[in-house]
């Protein structure tokens, strides 16, 4: 008998968290600001980024040529180099000053310079010829394209010259070849054979879009609740009492429902649509998404607790996007992140989620191989959930105490026959969060 009563009681409580869930969903869809962030942000941004990194690689970088040697050797070099996809030889200049002018005006992003003695140094069996490259550093990708294509060509050229020189020394052709090609090598780019910038960055950006829109959206919703002078730890519609578990899990379920679907689209479907690397098992991605979304939700609930109005969150938190991106060690290698910042990065779900998603999606790792990230995300989920519950309970108890204090004062005022005091206290009662600061 007792057990059924407990069960019934439990069922009633469970129904209440369902009430929170429906109320939260209703709030989200009624709120255009949050809808813009949740739906327009998540669905429009990936396409914009895809359009931005459209060509994946920077090809046909305009380059100026200053050929003072004007020899068959330099011309042959240029001829071969112009076949490289990275560069396009747009201008031929008679002197360095002219080429510099072009570079200054951003007509070209690099200069190749052959000195007078280029051909004669090559012809001299003991000589050393020099090619000078001047690269525009306004984007590292210009430098990378120009330098790598030139490097490869020089390596290629060098072998022929070395063979000529060894033959000149009197070595046999076979011996010369063997010497030059001593240790040939193959080079294989793994996981994104095109080597595109988009293939590398867009997966990380997709995770960032989910992370930040969810973070901002929840903070905005929390700020709105606070603004409307209702308490976030109270079941909507009630005037008294608090219930941390029911409100937190009701809300979290609402966000999870929406974002799990969005995450499945962004991380499961878009890499395929965008022709990005997607060699991971879809089941692993879907399983990995669970702790990812949950940890972001609970982190945002914790942060949202301190936000007093709807807008301040957005104003203050937008800069976290760049910080999260860099501290996670995606575009800047994680080995180079200083110790202090590294520990900071561990408490941010993005760090684990981005690496985990890249490992599964782009590098084909199994969920087992991604266990560190997966477990870390569950750990963050647990820590943030417990933290949120504690904060809600503490705030609830404080509020309760304040209210009972107020009620006692009201009673006292009744006896004294004055109502002013009650009004005074109600107006001076500060939001609870201030007490917690």
């Amino acid at each position: 008998m007792n057990i059924t009563r407990h069960l019934y009681h439990f069922w009633l409580q469970f129904k209440e968290s369902g009430q929170v869930f429906w109320h939260e969903l209703y709030t989200i869809f009624r709120d255009p600001g949050v809808c813009v962030i949740f739906f327009v942000g998540t669905l429009a941004y990936p396409f914009l980024y895809k359009a931005m990194y459209w060509n994946e690689q920077i090809t046909n970088i305009p380059v100026a040529v200053v050929d003072l040697s004007n020899s068959p050797e330099s011309r042959a070099f240029l001829h071969q180099w112009s076949a490289a996809p990275e560069v396009r030889l747009t201008h031929t200049c008679s002197c360095m000053a002219e080429a510099e002018q072009l570079l200054r005006n951003q007509k070209v992003h690099g200069i190749i310079y052959f000195p007078h003695d280029f051909a004669s140094q090559l012809a001299d069996p003991l000589g050393k010829a020099t090619v000078s490259l001047f690269c525009d550093m306004s984007s590292f990708l210009y430098m990378k394209g120009i330098a790598l294509s030139c490097n490869q060509l020089v390596m290629e050229k060098m072998k022929n010259i070395q063979i000529d020189r060894y033959e000149y020394m009197g070595l046999g052709k076979e011996m010369a070849w063997a010497l030059v090609q001593e240790a040939p090598y193959t080079e294989t780019a793994l996981f994104a054979p095109t080597g595109g910038y988009g293939s590398f960055l867009i997966p990380a950006v997709l995770v960032m879009i989910l992370h930040q829109t969810l973070f901002f959206g929840i903070c905005m919703l929390a700020g709105t609740v606070r603004e409307e002078r209702t308490e976030i730890y109270r079941i909507p519609g009630r005037k008294r009492g608090y219930s941390a578990l029911r409100t937190i899990f009701g809300r979290a379920a609402a966000y999870f429902l929406l974002y799990y679907a969005l995450a499945a689209i962004l991380l499961g479907f878009l890499p395929w649509l965008f022709d990005l690397p997607h060699i991971g098992a879809i089941g692993d991605i879907l399983r990995f998404n669970v702790p990812f979304i949950l940890s972001v939700i609970f982190m945002s609930i914790c942060v949202g607790f301190f936000i007093r109005n709807r807008e301040s969150g957005l104003v203050l938190l937008f800069s976290t996007s760049l910080i999260f991106l860099f501290v996670a060690g995606i575009s800047w290698p994680k080995e180079m992140v200083p110790e202090g910042w590294k520990y900071f990065s561990y408490i941010i779900p993005y760090t684990w989620a981005a690496h985990g998603f890249i490992h599964i999606n782009s590098m084909g790792a199994s969920l087992w191989a991604t266990r560190h990230e997966y477990i870390a995300l569950w750990g963050l989920t647990g820590v943030y959930a417990v933290l949120a519950i504690i904060m809600f309970i503490v705030a609830g108890i404080r509020r309760e105490r304040k209210e009972s204090h107020l009620a006692a004062l009201e009673e006292a005022a009744h006896i004294g026959g004055s109502f002013d005091m009650v009004e005074y206290f109600e107006h001076s009662s500060q939001p609870i969060s201030e007490d917690l600061h």
């Binding site: 359009a51 990194y53 994946e56 951003q106 590292f140 060098m158 060894y166 001593e182 800069s319 782009s362």
Partner: protein
């Protein structure tokens, strides 16, 4: 005339009181800016990628293969953290994100080398992490070439040649690389000099939206207009003056910190670069006015502002150049003030371009004031009638 100044003074006084009353105004502009500055200046303290982890799959296990490992280990740019004899172990380490590249030394490398059979080295590197992958790739190429160079040197030495002549034989062509204006290939200089002004501009835009939008939201716009004597222009000048002063001062601090204290190179003129930064900050404020004028509901304007502002960092083209973007998007990038600031920065700091080179972009930044003037009637109406939803 005197009356106008008096009213500006009234609005200014009122605004200063409002600024002090809420921590958001000053915390957002100064606190967030300083935190980001501290973050980006300390994050990349080394400037270039060093000690990138990689693995060697040593199937040969001879003195020569161990020497290749030693040579790898001795280079500053890579860190050999795994020497194994199983390729799948190395691949798994890569999939778990521990290493960026794998060098495979095949079985019989030493014996084949000795009998001039030209054994082959296999270099694998990841493209899922660009900087790490490229660094390791370059180093593997270098070591592979050195391995062949070392063998040539041995043979030539036996023939009794002096070392300096040997080097010219081994390397008959040298590339003489000049990285203009950033000869160290330093990432901090490269990233921070565009990101930090971008963050400052974004703060300026968001707080402009907030300062005006909050009047609408809390329905205090009548009080504000009253202080301005009913004049829209006076009201705006008085309101935005203190913010503009704060951001311009922060812009100057940013400039001094980069180019005078940290010593980032400037090949052109300091004044024009600083002027570009100040114009950029004001253009971002103008965009703030445009957004709150078009959407006089605070929350909508802020949401759109955040989405628009964050795009500026990618659209400016300082990481991935604009020439690789979809043509339509390339055109859109002109709508981001950060794009124009970045071009001014390239002209002035990197290129040392002639004084007129940055002019079109400076004019483009000035052009952002025009839409801000165009939305004036709409925003004025919104302030007077308060006819937009508060939330």
């Amino acid at each position: 005339m005197k009356e106008i100044f008096l009213h500006i003074w009234y609005v200014l006084q009122r605004e200063l009181k409002r600024m002090v009353s809420r921590p958001l105004y000053l915390t957002a502009s100064i606190g967030v800016f300083l935190f980001c500055m501290f973050f980006f200046m300390t994050l990349m303290e080394k400037g270039a990628a060093e000690k990138m982890p990689m693995a060697v799959v040593d199937l040969d296990q001879t003195s020569i293969s161990r020497r290749v490992c030693h040579e790898m280990q001795a280079t500053p740019s890579v860190d050999l953290i795994l020497i194994t004899n199983s390729y799948s172990e190395a691949r798994e380490a890569m999939q778990q994100g521990y290493i960026y590249g794998i060098l495979v030394i095949p079985q019989g490398f030493y014996s084949n080398l000795a009998s001039l059979k030209r054994p082959r080295l296999d270099c694998y590197y990841t493209n899922a992490y660009t900087v790490g992958g490229t660094t390791v790739y370059k180093q593997m190429l270098l070591v592979a070439n050195l391995a062949s160079g070392a063998f040539q040197r041995e043979v030539l030495r036996k023939k009794g040649m002096p070392d300096d002549i040997i080097m010219n034989r081994i390397q008959p062509i040298a590339i003489d690389m000049h990285m203009l204006a950033n000869p160290w290939g330093n990432y901090t200089i490269y990233l921070v000099s565009t990101i930090m002004p971008g963050i400052l501009g974004l703060i300026a835009m968001m707080l402009t939206i907030f300062a005006i939008g909050f009047e609408l939201k809390s329905q205090t716009s009548h009080e504000w207009l009253r202080a301005a004597g009913g004049d829209y222009t006076v009201a705006m000048i008085g309101k935005l003056l203190p913010y503009t002063v704060i951001y311009l001062v922060l812009g100057i601090v940013c400039h001094l910190l980069f180019y005078n204290i940290a010593g980032f190179p400037v090949n052109g003129s300091h004044e024009r670069l600083l002027f570009g930064m100040l114009l950029f900050i004001m253009a971002m404020e103008a965009m703030g006015i445009v957004l709150i004028g078009l959407l006089p509901t605070l929350r909508d304007a802020l949401s759109i502002g955040a989405l628009y502002g964050m795009l500026g960092f990618s659209l400016s083209g300082f990481t991935y150049p604009n020439m690789g973007m979809m043509p339509a998007v390339r055109a859109l990038s002109n709508l981001e003030p950060l794009r124009h600031y970045y071009l001014i920065y390239v002209d002035e700091a990197l290129m040392g371009a002639p004084s007129t080179a940055a002019l079109p972009d400076a004019l483009a930044l000035v052009a952002f004031f025009i839409p801000a003037l165009c939305v004036a009637p709409r925003l004025h109406r919104a302030l007077v009638y308060q006819n937009y939803p508060l939330k």
